[in-house]
Symmetry: C2
């Protein structure tokens, strides 16, 4: 799994002409980094003087961020493998009409799956914002910028994942699916931008 | 060095109550990821059919991105260590007036250094945009979203690094330095937002 690479190796592998990990995996990694950084802010608040009142709330947030972090770590690989079904379908025989139809059906099925993975990354990442907001408002003031960085990483993760959804939609023939997903994409883009702006606005910096 | 951690370990270390790596290191890592992803787009263009005309230009960009990537990898650690001078100065004796003055001077020197590292990250990251623009316009169309993700990661890296500059400015007493740096911060924030918007606007997605 990609999490088992050294950071340097991961960067080198990204840079290489191997198309994975690509932008979709980097989006999931950004979400994992946002979760980890938010987890740090919570952990730097728990048990600290002047923050006794929020210690229990911070413990809950730290636990949630830890779960998010690992979910996004899995999504780094899930995105890297999301095109496997499409690639496998492309290699199927296309001699007879029946073969052609089956191959085409499986390519389309693979494309829909490939669009669904970055959509999952984007949707899950939106769940971070309400927790980050609490961290900015009630967390250790010395780590407030870390919570702000977390909000920006989440925003960029969402927009990045959504570009990967949009590019896949271009190859999908199911018009209802395309229309519904494009609507979801627009709503998520709007939400990511608004949430980032709102959270950054909570700080005096 | 942090690059020598497994990706999972790096995320776990970020999450822990150890304040480093924090938002400043994550900013430098985002710049490294932006460089790596842009490098991939260039590498996926070199020698490809229909892209013969831009192959040489892409080779130059791939090489530059590789250098940027490693520069930012070093900045991940440089940021993590940027507070060491301040911490060391805080531990100095403060019995006599002379000791107090020297301690205070060294704390201020350390603070100025701590502000200079994320400023270096932000300034260097702005150099990526003109190369990313070429990748979006002339690079392999199949990897265009990766170049767009790269632009967004660069924008967020810059804004994140600049929050770390701003928080440090609050502790610096040299008014001329504070004023000059605050002006630089504002200009860089504006540039990052404008460049991202402009580059995303080059795509039909």
């Amino acid at each position: 799994m990609l999490k088992d690479l050294y950071l340097q190796e991961f960067l080198d592998k990204t840079e290489s002409s191997d198309p994975v990990p690509g932008g979709g995996s980097i989006a999931a990694l950004s979400s994992a980094l946002a979760s980890a950084l938010s987890g740090m802010v919570a952990n730097l608040t728990i048990g600290k003087k002047n923050y006794e009142d929020v210690s229990d709330e911070m413990k809950v947030i730290a636990e949630k961020m830890s779960v998010f972090k690992q979910d996004f770590v899995l999504l780094i690989d899930k995105d890297a493998n999301s095109f496997d079904k499409v690639m496998k379908a492309y290699k199927l025989p296309k001699e007879t009409d029946a073969e052609k139809a089956e191959r085409s059906r499986l390519i389309q099925e693979g494309m829909i799956y490939a669009a669904s993975v970055p959509l999952e990354v984007a949707e899950k990442t939106t769940e971070l914002f309400e927790l980050i907001e609490i961290l900015v408002q009630k967390g250790n003031k010395n780590a407030q910028t870390d919570a702000l960085v977390s909000a920006m990483m989440a925003r960029t993760a969402i927009l990045s994942a959504l570009y990967n959804v949009k590019i896949n939609l271009g190859s999908i023939k199911d018009e209802t699916f395309v229309k519904d997903t494009a609507d979801k994409v627009k709503a998520l883009e709007k939400l990511a931008i608004e949430q980032e702006t709102r959270i950054l606005g909570l700080s005096d910096l």
